[in-house]
Symmetry: C2
């Protein structure tokens, strides 16, 4: 088969990490768009906003006062989706099956500067965020009731972010969520057979081909995975086989911060707007098992498709069938890569 077929004809690609398929329709990139346009707010925000409940020194809705923090500030979510003290119960009533789920949810402010985003922060500033993620993963993970720690960021109003102050969240819980469970299985299967990491082998292949690489430094590779779903989806992967972010040295944390800085800055240039996305780190569960099969990575799922106002809708077919994309991973890489060098 000629590789150009992937750029011309409808096909599906296999996600080695989840075991699921995505539909790619490269020929459809040219279809006209008359649907909903997102609104953009490119107004410059002030460095401090007295009505923002995340700014330093301000009072939150529950009456607590934020400290005058100078870099990163972490607190327990005032409207946590998971409760740590709820009773343990289960429903096993025929085909009605439920289990109590406990956990701890935190909010992490990336900077006291209300006007910034990760894309506008220096690698040294982002490194402090990485340090905070490491501390949280360690602290939450050492709680015997917490077996998985999900670190993520929703950026932009279109991604459900309710406050533009630079911040992310951490939801930690007692069982593995669906997506983590799938990746756990796929990585374990590969590791059991090959005694090496699935993502490590994938990385080696991609580094040789160079077709989907956005950027690399000593410790990290930024690439668009072969099976990417979102138009400009990307993934940051450590070159070393590390199961979780605690295995990073401080120097590697800086290299990781650099990778985040490079990618998010390129994103902002793509459509000349503060680029919205959900980003998240998938890493080894904190369930006390060995988990050597895990190779941690951070993924970025940005919704914009054609411009600052036209996003990809994951609706209809995507909800009932499979995720679907028009522009290919390879085209997306080219677009992002030229904004870096």
């Amino acid at each position: 088969m000629k590789n150009t077929h992937l750029q011309d004809y409808s096909h599906k690609r296999y996600n080695i990490l989840t075991g699921e398929w995505i539909l790619v329709s490269p020929h459809r990139a040219k279809r006209p768009w008359q649907g909903q346009n997102e609104s953009v707010n490119n107004e410059k925000r002030p460095a401090y906003d007295e009505s923002c409940y995340l700014c330093a020194g301000n009072t939150r809705i529950n009456g607590e006062v934020n400290p005058k923090y100078t870099d990163v500030f972490v607190f327990t979510n005032d409207f946590a989706a998971l409760q740590s003290d709820s009773p343990s119960f289960s429903v096993n009533d025929g085909l009605l099956v439920a289990e109590s789920e406990t956990g701890i949810c935190k909010v992490i402010c990336f900077s006291p500067d209300h006007s910034k985003s990760l894309a506008e922060m220096s690698s040294n500033e982002i490194q402090k965020v990485v340090f905070a993620w490491q501390e949280q993963y360690k602290e939450l993970g050492s709680n015997p009731k917490i077996n998985y720690v999900q670190i993520f960021e929703n950026k932009g109003a279109v991604m459900g972010c309710s406050n533009p102050h630079p911040h992310g969240q951490i939801w930690s819980q007692s069982t593995l969520p669906n997506e983590v469970d799938k990746k756990n299985t796929q990585q374990l299967n590969y590791y059991s057979k090959n005694e090496s990491s699935l993502l490590g082998a994938y990385l080696a292949q991609e580094l040789e081909k160079q077709e989907r690489i956005i950027y690399e430094n000593t410790g990290f590779v930024v690439l668009v995975p072969f099976w990417a779903v979102w138009p400009f989806e990307a993934m940051i992967v450590p070159k070393k086989h590390q199961s979780n972010i605690l295995e990073m040295t401080d120097e590697e944390a800086l290299q990781y911060a650099e990778a985040i800085a490079v990618l998010t800055k390129a994103y902002d240039k793509l459509f000349k707007t503060s680029f919205p996305y959900s980003a998240g780190i998938h890493q080894s569960p904190t369930d006390g098992n060995d988990n050597k099969h895990w190779h941690w990575h951070m993924s970025f799922y940005p919704p914009l498709l054609r411009s600052a106002t036209v996003k990809k809708f994951m609706v209809g077919y995507e909800m009932f069938g499979s995720p679907q994309r028009d522009i290919t991973a390879e085209t997306a890489v080219q677009r992002i890569r030229e904004l870096i060098y």
Copy 2:
């Protein structure tokens, strides 16, 4: 365990059809919302719009002229995501795995009246849509290259619908998409063990409890499944064990149309707006196998959460972890049910 725990504490519920879990956080329904508001357009549309490419007699972008249709009109999608004549190929290059995927995509106009939606059509008018779905399922399914037919509708700009003219889509293809594959497996497992349909057994349980039933008539039940993800998600299920929509008699097609009418009209009343959703029918593959384990059903995934302008965002945790909801299925049923009687 007291059943009220399900209304008070964070827990996860099991989806018997997909084998996946969803996180429910009933206590979080009270959190304030300062995020993005959707725009609503409650303006009454004209019955005919000369700039609409779906109205009868109008010319489409490719130069074809729509007939002066009087009820339902079906045509092949001018920007189909699947091509029927593309070459067959596969990529099996280490961890890069892809397969060509062919198919046929159609658009189905529900009415020549540009101003209407299913919620504003009579059961007799909707029955004609059901007849068209049956014809399409039959015709596409008899094509040896088509092994699955996905019927769906994206309603509303917020659901990626690019034209308000009442219409749905049909994407048919050679392999089973992810969601269908999961439901295939779960239903097959149950059927192999019990020699009866999974959804039939579930239905019997729900009809006895009456806790999640929105509406029923002779042939159909409308309910909020125990494992619903979207705030006001609902499902229409035939009482008889039927694998696909071709097994319906004309009378049953009318009962089905009634169920659609009742649900969509209640939806429109909920937030006094034309209620957006993606709806889709899951039914037996057209792969020539027996598929007796399938029990067809139609699901509605509406995004609105609190009002016509505040939707649920499936972002961050939901993308990286599991789907999450705040109001419970039982609360949602109560809200919808009181709009019917």
